[in-house]
Symmetry: C2
Subunit: 383 residues, 2 copies
């Protein structure tokens, strides 16, 4: 079905795109990629350039990953084996799964994936020695190899190891297997990304960096290599970059942005990313009388996620009154454009990652013309 219902063709006018559709403003998107790279270049400690490994879980689109790498990124992050696959197939040669892969079925598929791309670098996180053993056995069967990152629990209590002794013990377990190479530490503080004040985020990342530093020192003292300390998201990456501890950052949302990240307080010298991704909708019902002044759009819970609040109009004068599976009701609330039946207003996603995951295509637009239509190859890659 997906191939038949492409929302646009190259050369179409923006106003001819079928809805609901994800619209990427290419100028803003490219500016976001450049802003990140120049900010990291400027902020990296002297003589020690921090690498950028954008998180592809937020866009799931091979073409976006290619452009991130063309702009200077080292590789990408993924969350699942099935998510990594289309990126490897699309020529992205350096992929880190920033997540645990657990269960014989899953470890086997990951080891087989590594075997299918022997020239690529493929890494995965572990927080349990039994899983490391399972991964090693799977790699031996598949005659493949994996880079291993020990995940630290830097305060999230979601996954990872919170104590330095546990990290060293897990490193010993990893070192027992020739098919695994310990590369370093995954030290991502997820909750910190959405702390609104800079002060709170600074404190959180200082704690994370301190634990990462201790764990690295303990690993080195015990005779292990720990070359990479990787983590950070769009809300905090300038703090990790300047920490002197992290060697790599993993922002994802910066390229597309959303309502939630736009709420974060920013330092003046941090890069200010612009909203580049929008949901184009159609006004499918319009009422304007003594009782109501509302425009109902043809996009709802199946076109954007609401976990961080609903999508918001990209224009003034209208508020979201309700969202249901296939509808969003906008209510007039001040001065703004007149919405007429058939108009195609743009919304800004509340949370970009689960919103992109609802769509099969990104319509890339410049100067009101469709310049490209990119498949979201890793849409629905749950496994």
């Amino acid at each position: 079905m997906n191939d038949q219902w492409i929302p646009a063709r190259v050369g179409d006018l923006l106003s001819d795109v079928d809805t609901p559709a994800l619209i990427l403003d290419l100028d803003k998107f490219e500016a976001n990629l450049a802003r990140l790279m120049s900010a990291i270049h400027a902020a990296s400690p002297q003589g020690r350039s921090v690498r950028v490994r954008p998180h592809a879980k937020s866009h799931k689109c091979v073409e976006i990953a290619r452009r991130q790498i063309a702009a200077g990124a080292t590789g990408i992050c993924c969350q699942k084996t099935s998510e990594a696959e289309p990126f490897l197939a699309g020529g992205i040669a350096d992929v880190l799964i920033t997540n645990e892969v657990v269960g014989q079925q899953k470890t086997s598929r990951l080891a087989q994936l590594a075997a299918s791309y022997p020239n690529a670098t493929l890494g995965v996180c572990v927080d349990d020695a039994r899983v490391a053993t399972e991964l090693a056995r799977a790699c031996q069967r598949a005659q493949s190899h994996l880079d291993i990152y020990i995940e630290l629990d830097v305060g999230h209590d979601r996954a990872g190891i919170a104590d330095v002794a546990g990290v060293v013990a897990l490193a010993q377990a990893v070192a027992a297997h020739s098919s695994l190479t310990l590369r370093g530490l995954q030290a991502y503080f997820g909750n910190a990304q959405h702390l609104r004040s800079i002060g709170e985020r600074k404190q959180a990342i200082a704690t994370a960096a301190s634990l990462a530093r201790s764990a690295q020192a303990a690993l080195i003292a015990a005779g292990f290599a720990c070359d990479v300390i990787t983590g950070a998201g769009t809300g905090s990456f300038m703090l990790e970059t300047t920490s002197g501890v992290y060697t790599e950052i993993q922002p994802g949302s910066y390229a597309l942005m959303d309502v939630d990240y736009a709420r974060n307080e920013q330092e003046p010298n941090w890069p200010a990313f612009e909203q580049s991704l929008f949901i184009m909708t159609t006004v499918m019902s319009r009422r304007k009388d003594a009782h109501s002044d509302r425009a109902t759009l043809d996009a709802g819970l199946k076109s954007f996620s609401t976990d961080s609040g609903p999508a918001q109009p990209a224009f003034a004068g209208w508020q979201v009154r309700g969202v249901s599976d296939e509808h969003t009701v906008l209510q007039r609330h001040g001065v703004g454009p007149e919405l007429a039946l058939g108009d195609k207003p743009l919304l800004i996603p509340g949370h970009i990652d689960p919103t992109v995951n609802l769509h099969d295509w990104i319509v890339a637009v410049r100067n009101n013309r469709v310049e490209a239509v990119w498949p979201i190859e890793a849409r629905g890659a749950l496994f």
Copy 2:
């Protein structure tokens, strides 16, 4: 990618299904279908059997629609043209789009779809005469025909016409076109489905039925046919069935169910549907020490929607502490099963419709064996 990442094969043990996956308990599912049909049979006004047209927006799966029709349903409802297509292609010969289809591109595709299935019955809702004219022109071009239902706004203020005079005026506009046939009224009260108390739902549906009755009388007085009054959802359908006004009901969630619908107060003589659809997950990280007793699952915002609250454990003793894109953190909270790394606990979706829409496959299980794996053909059918 989807074809390569099927979570199970027929004959697999339930415990071998890859995660996260939608698991359908076939015994419970079949019991739900039978419960609905026997309840409607028993409750229909004497000599006037109320038809059942389940809403396929909740399951998006052709095989489920086939089984609903085999159990006695008249046809199905959809919300979008692209959603209707796989059902028509799959042999479902009676489809009502319970939604407005607006814009020349969309009306053309709908008219073309009707032309592709000349032996099927295809209906659509309208609430604006301009759209009726556009639909008629598109049908003339495509040499096809559509059944038309005027949508009433029965109190939701999302779409539809709230006044009887407006309904008659729209009927006149529809009657001007030979490619359109006015069949009746769409009178669905969406908000009423989730009113928790029976009293509130009774009042809401009484209001809806009253408006539908008035509109029908006005249409007949003006010389129009109005044979069908259709509407209702899983939270209210017994009220529409016994109203004496509705000729057809549209429940969707009853077949699969969710946490939200399970919260509704029920009359003792109403059918009690069982949860038949679950999300199977894997414990991908486990911590049990003085500081924490948590199990982290490999399913999050990309495996279930949270608009009506997160998915909930299908077992006692654990509470959802946090949900992120690919994780759900369960915290011990009383007596329940011990969850170990690699275990595969089941969750109950908070809201079934947008949850199913995140998946490509339904794994149908009986007696702990996979009996079938059904594609969710209309997943992502936004257009």
